[in-house]
């Protein structure tokens, strides 16, 4: 508590969802919601032309800004994310929109600001009323409106692109242009009221390696600009106005973390082998082709999970076969002969599928998502499969279906693959007909039926995030129940063990590609259960490798056996903490 003289404000600790790991300490910048209050003001009739000129100028400046932002995003994050700005450009260049704003200025002799706000808010309302995917675009329309108003009023708003000192950004939510335009050199961390694990902010923060906590509810109300803030993206904690003791602890923790992380660099080219010589395969999870480089830099031996959703989310139109093909070829090329697992579209419960649904689903997480969505949109599904089969020529590629809950779905999906192969054969297009096919085991039903499924697939990949969510019936984006979401829940561990064992029995390779694979706490129990392949986010690779290289299989077997006897996740976690700390004290400072 703030007992020391130098710190009058009381320390507050907020719990959210850690979406990008790491610790950051810096003063806060609070991005307000940026509500422009534009009063209706009339201008003299002969000034209307001048207002029109201001509008044209502001639009030009805005366009240049967006082009610049897009170029930088392409460079730093990748083409797919950058394409979100195409809609902005399209709207700015839209003749109808310009005409409407001009008409409003000339018709009512009002200021350009008022005209912009009126017309764009009208647009937003129209979009909101649309049942299709366009409703999602409202955010972008507000984004454009703010940009135009900013340029009209000449206000230099706190932009995230031009910072001069280190800050932690606090915001209700970030617009796509704010996130993509973030200045990596000065933004040390993000604390966001809204959002969940898969929000846009979370994905970009992870891609840029900025520690981030989301789902904080009211952090922007609790903290003010300049407040000292600690972000612990690993544990999902934000500390506002920390007392000197907490600050000192975290500073030390941050330093230790940095030292520890640097010490891991030396491991890059060493194999992921246990102390007693068991070889383990370490792969990386990626969203964008450009991330392959990071995987390899961090010592990954290939890509264990290539999520293809960004191909769909980046733009308004469904990606073409060539869009898919190009992205896949780029990944394969960068991987230089290393294995790659491409997961077919795993959208659902989100913008893309919801916007295409005639009626919004009442319970989208249990709705028409992922493979279900694909099996009901076969033409779209086929396009992706064609591209995967074509890209697979001469490469070590496998195809993986997400969210399989029963064997019929797997068989249907496989029969579609067969159909596509026939089409390609008939058309004389080069493809790989014998591509290995696997499934994500991420529902309790798939886990319980894995013996049957093992006979019909070439590999299993356990997606722990969804497996936990569906096994424990917890939405971890909901802060009221998020604490129930635990990989250490004995029910989850039992399912995991059964799937891994089933794979061993049937000689079907098993990997874990969920976040659990990236948590060094679970490395030992997973090894002990018999897991041979870990696939995790690239930043976690060195630490997992370090963990693997620090243990023996004998130790891991013991941990795995023991961990099965506990009845609560707390006991499991305490035991795993103690076991891991014994092996690798540097990773778990007190």
């Amino acid at each position: 508590m703030g007992t020391d003289a130098g710190n009058l404000a009381e320390m507050r600790i907020k719990k959210g969802i850690g979406v990008s790991p790491g610790v950051a300490i810096a003063p806060a910048v609070v991005m307000d919601t940026e509500e422009f209050d534009i009063p209706m003001r009339h201008v003299p009739v002969d000034h209307a032309q001048a207002e029109l000129a201001r509008l044209v100028k502001a639009a030009d400046v805005s366009k240049r800004e967006i082009l610049d932002l897009r170029a930088r995003t392409v460079e730093r994050i990748g083409q797919e994310t950058a394409s979100i700005f195409d809609f902005h450009l399209g709207l700015l260049e839209d003749k109808v929109l310009h005409q409407k704003i001009s008409d409003t200025i000339l018709g009512g002799n009002v200021t350009a600001e008022y005209a912009v706000a009126t017309v764009l808010r009208g647009y937003a309302k129209e979009f909101l009323g649309m049942p299709q995917y366009l409703a999602e675009r409202v955010k972008d329309i507000y984004d454009i409106e703010k940009r135009l108003l900013r340029n009209l009023t000449g206000q230099r708003h706190e932009s995230l692109a031009h910072l001069t000192k280190d800050v932690i950004v606090l915001a209700r939510d970030l617009t796509p242009s704010q996130t993509a335009g973030m200045d990596r050199n000065h933004i040390r961390g993000l604390a966001i009221d809204a959002g969940g694990q898969t929000s846009h902010t979370a994905i970009v923060a992870r891609a840029l390696g900025i520690p981030a906590v989301v789902g904080l509810n009211d952090v922007t109300a609790e903290a003010s600009a300049g407040d000292s803030i600690i972000i612990d993206g690993t544990r999902g904690v934000v500390v506002i106005d920390p007392d000197s003791e907490t600050l000192a602890n975290y500073e030390q923790y941050a330093i230790q973390q940095v030292e520890f992380i640097h010490s891991l660099d030396a491991l890059r080219d060493l194999p992921a082998t246990t102390r007693d010589g068991h070889e383990i395969t370490l792969l990386g999870n990626i969203e964008f082709p450009s991330e392959v480089r990071t995987v390899l830099e961090k010592g990954g031996q290939g890509v264990g999970l290539y999520r293809t959703e960004f191909l769909y989310l980046g733009s308004d139109v469904e990606p073409t076969e060539e869009d898919h093909y190009k992205a896949y070829c780029q990944v394969l090329e960068e991987c230089q002969g290393r294995p790659v697992v491409i997961r077919t579209l795993d959208l659902g419960a989100d913008k893309y599928t919801q916007s295409r649904a005639r009626v919004p689903e009442r319970n989208p997480m249990l709705g028409c998502r992922s493979i279900r969505f694909c099996l009901q949109n076969l033409v779209m599904f086929k396009t992706q499969i064609r591209a995967i089969l074509r890209a697979g020529v001469g490469a070590k590629v496998s195809m993986m279906f997400p969210l399989i809950t029963n064997l019929m779905e797997l068989r249907q999906a496989k029969s579609i693959v067969r159909d596509v192969i026939e089409d390609l054969e008939e058309e004389g297009i080069e493809h790989r007909p014998d591509m290995p096919i696997g499934i994500m085991v991420e529902t309790p039903s798939a886990a319980l039926q894995c013996d049957a499924a093992a006979k019909e697939v070439d590999f299993f990949s356990i997606g722990t995030n969804d497996l936990i969510q569906y096994t424990l019936a917890v939405d971890r984006g909901n802060e009221k129940v998020a604490s129930l979401f635990s990989a250490a829940n004995p029910a989850v561990l039992h399912l995991l063990r059964d799937v891994i064992r089933s794979g061993l029995r049937h000689d079907v390779p098993v990997s874990v590609c969920g976040e659990m694979a990236a948590d060094p706490l679970f490395t030992m129990p997973l090894l002990g259960m018999g897991l041979k392949t870990f696939s995790c986010a690239p930043p976690a690779l060195p630490e997992i490798k370090k963990m693997i290289r620090s243990v023996t299989m004998e130790q891991s077997l013991q941990v795995a056996r023991k961990v099965m006897n506990f009845e609560s996740d707390k006991e499991v976690l305490n035991f795993l903490h103690a076991a891991a700390r014994k092996v690798l004290p540097a990773a778990w400072p007190d």
């Binding site: 099996l375 009901q376 949109n377 076969l378 033409v379 086929k382 064997l407 019929m408 779905e409 068989r411 249907q412 496989k414 029969s415 579609i416 067969r418 159909d419 026939e422 089409d423 008939e426 019909e456």
Partner: protein
């Protein structure tokens, strides 16, 4: 696409005489020809094409359902028929169980997307336990046709 857009009512076989996979396919193709959906002289070729596809990988997707199909020149839009077998037929199904409902589909090689849409429709219905159950219970051509229309209405 609706199930009733694809299925040729007159070609539905409420009780297959065939006891083997090959004979069942031949019987259904024959029924399509009888109903005038395909030319009589093409029966042999069509049967051959379907069996050739079946030889590559079984279309017996389990739960008593098989979906033999082929893409053939001369077929303009997806057409299909349904055959029922009370005793069950060995289709080398993935679950190694006999097939009680054979849903046969022919489509045009020129329009693979249409073929997929037809498959999508069929998949959607056979996924449902209730549809498979009712299909197994439908003992007349009319009952099968009614079921198809009811399924379409439910969407």
């Amino acid at each position: 696409m609706k199930l009733s857009d694809i299925m040729i009512g007159d070609a539905i076989v409420p009780e297959l005489k065939a006891t083997t996979r090959d004979a069942a396919v031949a019987e259904l193709v024959e029924a399509l020809a009888e109903a005038g959906a395909i030319p009589k002289k093409s029966v042999e070729d069509v049967t051959k094409a379907i069996l050739a596809r079946e030889a590559q990988a079984t279309t017996g997707i389990g739960k008593g359902v098989a979906l033999p199909h082929a893409k053939l020149k001369g077929i303009k839009k997806p057409i299909g028929t349904i055959g029922r077998s009370s005793d069950g037929i060995d289709f080398s199904s993935l679950d190694a169980k006999p097939v009680y409902s054979v849903i046969l589909l022919l489509s045009s090689p020129e329009n693979p997307d249409e073929h997929l849409q037809a498959m999508e429709t069929i998949f959607k219905h056979v996924q449902r336990d209730i549809f498979r159950k009712f299909l197994r219970q439908s003992q007349t051509k009319e009952a099968v046709v009614d079921l198809i229309h009811e399924a379409d209405e439910l969407g």
